[in-house]
Structure formats: C-alpha cells, structure tokens
C-alpha cells in the first residue's frame, strides 16, 4: 500500500461511517406507530422566553418561529371595540394548518364559516391586537408565542365536544386580557368550560406582559368529555420564568414538578393532578412527585441520542449559558426549566438565536460534506435547528414597562426562513398592518404578498449559500439593525405625542411601521433580483463593472476531494477512466 493510497482509503472509511450514520439516522427519523404523530407534531415551532431582568433593555421578550411550510402566513390588525350588554362572541373552529386558494378568499374571512356551534357572552370592551396564526400583541402589551408539544394520545379530543381550538383561545386572550396572568386565566377558564382540542392537542404558549413571562401548557382531556360532565374540558398548567432567567420550548413540554402554593410562579386548572390519575398517567402511590411533563407529554431521548433531532433545547441553553456546560447527552426531560444567562440578552441576540443553525456544535448541519460546496445548511436536515426553512414567519415580542402600552409593546415580524429574512417592528399602538401582509399563499407566486419577497430572496440564496448569505447579512445590517437603532428616537417622538394626544401617537406609530415595512419589502424584492443577476449561471456577475470577467464562487478543495472519494466508493472500476480525463 502506497502512502498516497492511505488518505484515499481513510477517506472512503470516513465516507462509509458517514453514510452508515446517515442510514441509522434515517431509521430513527421514521419510527412506527403513534409515536410518529407525536414526533411530527413536535418538529415545528420554537418559542424563546426572556425575563425582564435577563434582557439588556429590561424588556420581556417572547418568540414564535411559526414553522409549518404549508400554513397561512397572513396578518391582521383587529381594532379595539366596545360592546353592548347582552352581546355575544361567536366562536369559530380555526385550524392552524388549513388554507384556502386565494381565488376563494382570505383565511380570516373564510374561517367565519367554521362556526363551532356556540357563542359566549361578550365582554364590555375588547382590546385591539395584531394577529396571524395566533394572537401576538394587544394594545395592553400582552404578548404570546407558541410551540406545539403534543400529549398522550388518549388525551386528544378532535370531536366537536371540544369547542375551543388554540388559535381561538389566543385571540380571546388578546381581546380580554390586560396582563399575562389574566390571559392565562381567560384561556384556561374558557378551555375548561367549553372544552379544548378539536384541531389541536398539547400546546405551549409563552404569555408575556411588561413585567413577566409565563410558560403556559394546555392539553385536551380525551374525546369522551362532554360539556355536561361538569368536569373541566381541558387540563392546563403555567409556570413563570424567573425575571432574571430565560427559557425555551422547542416542541416539548417544559413544566416539571409544580408547587401550586407558590402562586407567583404556578397556576393550573383544578384537575391538574387528578386528570393524570384518572387517565392512568400518574400514580400518587408511586412515591414519585407529580411531574406535569412526565404525566401528560413524556419524551425520551437527548440531543445526542436522537442524532440532533431534538437538540434545540440543549442548544438554546448552550448559547445563553455556556458556563453551565450542560451536556448534549443529558435527556431533554432532565434539562432545566430555565437558566440565568451568562450575560444579559439583547433584542439582536434573540434575533440571532432565531437564526441559529447550531454551527460549530456536534450537530452542525454543514460539517463535513453535508452542506455541499457552498455550505448550505438546508441540504442536510437530520439535525433540527432553530432556524427553519419551513418558517411561515417569526415573531419576537417586546413588552417594555417603562413606556405606555401603545409604545412599549412591539412585535417584530420576519417572513420566511429567518436567516434570509428581516425583522420589521410593529408597535402595539399601530392600528393597521400592511396590505401586503394580508395576502398570499404557498402555492401561487404573488408580487403583492410581502412574504413572497422574502421567499424570493431566500430562493436565490440557495444557489451559492455561503456567498449569497453575506449579501443578505449586509442588507440586514442596513434594514434590521437600522430599525433597531431608530426605535429609541421613535419611542421618544411617540411618547411626546402620546402625552398630548394618544390617537396622534397611534397614527405616528402606524405610519412608522407601515413605511418601514414597505421599505424592507421593496428592498427584499430588489435583493432577490440582485442575487439572481449576481449568481446567475453560478457565476459572479458584477452589475456595476459590467465586465467580461466573471468568477465562479470558489469550490473548496475539500469538496473536490469528496467528489473523488465518492466516485471511488460508488464506481471503483471506473476510476481509471475518470483519471484518464475521458468523459
């Protein structure tokens, strides 16, 4: 064996190991049975929660990466309203997943046909709010983020006895709650009374206000529940994230042992333990303390044991508190509920977290040859990272106690996958959303839809990811960092207006938000055009110089070697032909 052959054989060996690993990974990707559904429902959204004393500017933050890939992405503003005594609120069944072709109309008009069959008494005043798939921010600075967590299969209730879906609950919370605690009570009590489930099962919500953020989890109680049973039609529990800490929900239940005597940190439905006992999920005689997540939404495995499939929980804690040295081998169920970050977390940090791809970790999606020559993290999806190509949109809500609610609350919205998008601020006091935010779907390209501007850019980034992402990051610096930098001045001007005339402040904030969004959306259409030109034919065209000279983005040496190794592995007998240079 010559010295030259040793590296080649070593390469083959490595490739074999890699392929074997990939095959093992694929096997664990598709388990049979009911667990399939549980895992599927648990590969969607991520929600990050930041307490007020854990953030750099004292704001309470909550995120929602709405990871679906086929869902509706449209946004609306619902104005505040006063209601006459005796008014009723119509309850609709709203599926997170169902969409209609644009030719049939818009989702938020069409869902009105899905009457749940009952009305509830209306409250005298409902708050204004911004919503998409869920309610996100109302004019009192109550904010919400979401992550599906699944539940024990026996708990699901897809029958009409479950009057409330999750979306409806969040909209009602927006309409009726002035604080996070009120929002939890509104959602919890309505779910108990009218039953919860139908389109949804185990779900988590981050529920925030300017003072605190709670992690709220809710489950149905099985399909045999009826409103006439006199028992709660849902079981729920909420734990407050300590003010100086941060938490996350990556599609798995996070609440463990609970102490309902500590009312500042725990809230729950009256059946929180008894439901588990009745359904056989917890035996009080076991000697074990009751654990919410173990009873209602147990999950096996760790980041390592699942080949990175459930690594977001570990990864988040590793980003915010590396000093804790939490191990990726630790079972997710044993990781902490929340941690104190090593340093205070800024809004920009949170934006970066939503764009996290686990680079540099054992779950790096571009390590080895996974990302191809241009290190594209979207090629290899065994590792489930926080940034998700399937994101409809991502929200970061900021609730700020130092300002009036109209000005203090901001929901930052980015459309599509986070790494190629741009966050745009919408103040709680804004009274309008852009028209381009209210239209579009996945199946019809639409230049009037804001979301398509971001998909358009994202599509062109995929061609030569490692080069094109730098162009996007440059644009983010201008438009996203630029907006962040402008916020203190906008706050100041809005505050001055608010002192004299709150309605004028609302008009000012609306104008700022709409104008900023229009500028960003236009910029992203142009960015997509520019990327198309620049990376056309996988060459580097310089539109300014217009020269004959073009340079292909450099394919690294390791990639060329990997191609040769693959040839040897797959068709060793043809090597001589290839080395001979014949086609």
């Amino acid at each position: 064996m010559t010295r030259r052959k040793i590296p080649a054989l070593a390469g083959i060996l490595i490739l074999f190991v890699f392929l074997a690993g990939a095959l093992v990974g694929q096997k664990s990707e598709a388990p049979a049975g009911a667990a399939d559904d549980l895992i599927a429902s648990r590969e969607a959204c991520t929600s990050i929660l930041v307490g007020k004393n854990a953030s750099a500017d004292g704001s309470v933050m909550a995120t929602h990466t709405c990871d679906c890939g086929v869902c509706d992405w449209t946004w609306r503003h619902v104005p505040p309203a006063d209601h006459k005594p005796g008014s009723v609120r119509r309850i609709l069944h709203i599926s997170q997943y169902v969409t209609w072709p644009p030719s049939q109309g818009l989702k938020w008009d069409l869902v009105k046909k899905d009457y749940a069959g009952f009305d509830i008494p209306e409250v005298p005043h409902t708050y204004g709010y911004h919503h998409a798939m869920f309610g996100y921010m109302n004019d009192q600075q109550v904010a919400i983020g979401e992550s599906s967590i699944g539940c024990q299969p026996k708990m699901r209730n897809s029958t009409p006895s479950a009057g409330m879906d999750l979306t409806a609950l969040t909209l009602l919370a927006m309409e009726r709650a002035k604080t996070a605690r009120e929002a939890i009570q509104v959602m919890g009590s309505l779910a108990e009374k009218y039953g919860y489930g139908f389109h949804d099962d185990g779900e988590m919500l981050a529920v925030a206000d300017p003072n605190e953020v709670w992690l709220f989890e809710i489950m149905p109680v099985g399909p045999l529940w009826t409103p006439k049973s006199g028992k709660p039609g849902a079981v729920w529990c909420a734990e407050r994230v300590p003010d100086d800490q941060v938490s996350v929900c990556p599609n798995e239940s996070r609440i463990g042992e609970i102490d309902l005597a500590d009312k500042d940190f725990f809230m729950a439905s009256p059946n929180v333990v008894s439901q588990a006992v009745d359904m056989g999920f917890y035996d009080p005689k076991s000697g074990q303390p009751f654990s919410w997540k173990k009873a209602y939404s147990p999950r096996e495995g760790s980041a390592v044991s699942t080949n990175g499939r459930i690594q977001r929980l570990w990864r988040f804690f590793d980003i915010v508190a590396p000093s804790l040295r939490l191990k990726a081998e630790t079972a997710n169920m044993d990781l902490p509920f929340s941690v104190k970050p090593d340093r205070k977390i800024s809004l920009k940090d949170v934006m970066d977290m939503t764009r996290d791809r686990s680079y540099g970790t054992p779950f790096d999606p571009v390590q080895g040859i996974r990302g191809g020559p241009f290190k594209n993290p979207n090629y290899y999806r065994q590792t489930r990272v926080i940034d998700n190509a399937l994101a409809e949109y991502t929200t970061i809500t900021q609730c700020r106690a130092s300002l009036p609610a109209q000005i203090g609350g901001i929901v930052w919205i980015s459309f599509g996958t986070q790494d190629t998008a741009c966050y745009m601020p919408f103040y709680a006091g804004a009274t309008e959303m852009p028209k381009s935010f209210a239209v579009g779907d996945h199946w019809t390209f639409n230049r009037d839809s804001a979301r398509w501007a971001f998909d358009y850019t994202d599509f062109h980034v995929q061609v030569a990811y490692s080069a094109a992402i730098k162009d996007v990051q440059a644009a983010q610096t201008i438009y996203e960092d630029g907006a962040i930098a402008r916020i203190p001045e906008i706050d100041k001007q809005a505050l001055a207006l608010h002192a004299k005339n709150p309605a004028a402040a609302a008009r000012f904030l609306t104008g700022f938000c709409l104008n900023n969004a229009r500028t960003v959306v236009d910029a992203w259409w142009k960015l997509g055009d520019d990327l198309l030109v620049k990376y056309n034919h996988l060459l580097l065209y310089d539109a300014e110089k217009r020269g004959q000279q073009r340079n292909q983005p450099a394919a690294p040496e390791w990639w060329k070697k990997a191609v040769r190794i693959f040839d040897i592995l797959m068709e060793p007998d043809k090597q001589e032909t290839r080395q001979g240079g014949r086609p």
Partner: protein
C-alpha cells in the same frame, strides 16, 4: 357544579337517544358480535376516538389504519402484520377466545378525511377511496358487518365533493349501521343515505354516546 356520576347518566341519556333515533326509522340497534376490527376512512384522528370508545366500553379489538382486503380476510391478528412506517397495527383481541385467523364479524370505520393523515400513510384521496371500495366489497362478500361512524361534526364535513364527503360516499352506502353525531348530520346527508339504502341510523350528541352503542352492537 360537580356531577361525579355524570358519565353513567349521560350514557343512559345517549342510549335513550339511540333508541329514539332507531324508533324514528322503525329500526332497532343491530347486532353484529365479535371479533371486531376498527379502522379509518380518510385517516383522520377520529379513529383514535373510536378506539378510546372501545376501551371505555371494555371491548377488545384489532386496529389497523390502512387494512387491505387481504388483511381483513386473514381475520384476527391480520395475518401477523406488524406496524411500520405509515402503517399502524394494534392487536388487543383476546386470542384465547378468538384465535389468530378467526374471521371478523364486524368492522367499525371512523369516517373523516385528513390530508395530513393520508400523507403520513402514503395515501392519496384516490388510493384511499379505492382501498375502501375493496374493503367494503370484501365485507359484503364475507358478510362482515360494517358500522360506519362520523363524529367529526359539521365543520369537518366539508362541501360537496370535498375530501371528507368523498370518504362518506366511499363507505356510508355500504354500511349495515350508521352512527353519527347530530352536528355531523345537520344537513340530513346521513339520513338520506339511511333512507335510500335502508340502513339503520343512530344519532348521538357526543362521542361518549358511542360507548353504549358499541356495547349493544358487539356484545
């Protein structure tokens, strides 16, 4: 308001409702017997509800989400089929009483279309329809009782020609007994099928009402 004994009372109410519904059509709840297979038409989660109903009723059953005519013909234990990706089997039938291979006397089908569910099972609407057609045909040939259930309610019904309606068309006309929640039958669709095909129909208010019905049909 607490009703610790609410479930038996409701079950009794449901039973009365069924008898009333049956009486309205001049029919009583038919008898089928065991062993029984539960399955889905359209792969919605309604079949999970059906299985929970069976457990609540204390009836052992076999379950398969996408049984073929061959599997059905193989009888109890479905010829030893095991779960795999996109294919779920659960055998709880008491094989001491009904050894593997014992012909099924009844098939309970939960009608409800879910594209997500069909996608997970690798099915299209057309292939699901074709599978159900064969399944119903073999039931007729082998004189296996078909009880078709629709408990998804009004908002899961869909417009004429929709996924869910195609599932109803694929199964309901071949059923020996139809059990539907009242709000699934607001437009009288199941009543029409029942009258046209002379199939007994029972309306229930909630899925809980099914518990008593499956006991009457199967035990």
């Amino acid at each position: 308001m607490k009703h610790p004994s609410g479930i038996p009372i409701l079950a009794a109410c449901a039973a009365l409702l069924i008898i009333g519904a049956g009486a309205a059509f001049g029919q009583t709840v038919p008898k089928a017997g065991l062993p029984v297979l539960t399955t889905s038409a359209g792969q919605s989660t309604d079949v999970e509800t059906l299985n929970i109903v069976m457990e609540e009723a204390g009836i052992k059953y076999d379950y398969c989400d996408v049984p073929t005519a061959e599997m059905l013909t193989a009888g109890v234990a479905l010829g030893g089929r095991q779960s795999g990706p996109g294919f779920h089997v659960e055998i709880t039938t008491d094989t001491a009483k009904f050894p593997a291979g014992t012909p099924y006397k009844a098939v309970l089908i939960a009608i409800g279309a879910s594209l997500k569910g069909m996608g997970a099972s690798g099915l299209t609407l057309d292939s699901e329809e074709a599978r159900l057609k064969k399944l119903c045909e073999i039931c007729k040939q082998k004189k296996i009782f078909i009880m078709a259930v629709h408990i998804g309610g009004e908002s899961k019904r869909g417009a004429a020609g929709s996924d869910n309606e195609r599932m109803i068309d694929a199964v309901a006309p071949y059923a020996d007994f139809l059990v539907v929640t009242k709000d699934s039958n607001k437009d009288g669709r199941f009543t029409k099928i029942s009258k046209a095909r002379n199939i007994p129909l029972a309306e229930i208010e909630y899925a809980l009402g099914l518990v008593d019905i499956v006991k009457q049909v199967l035990l």
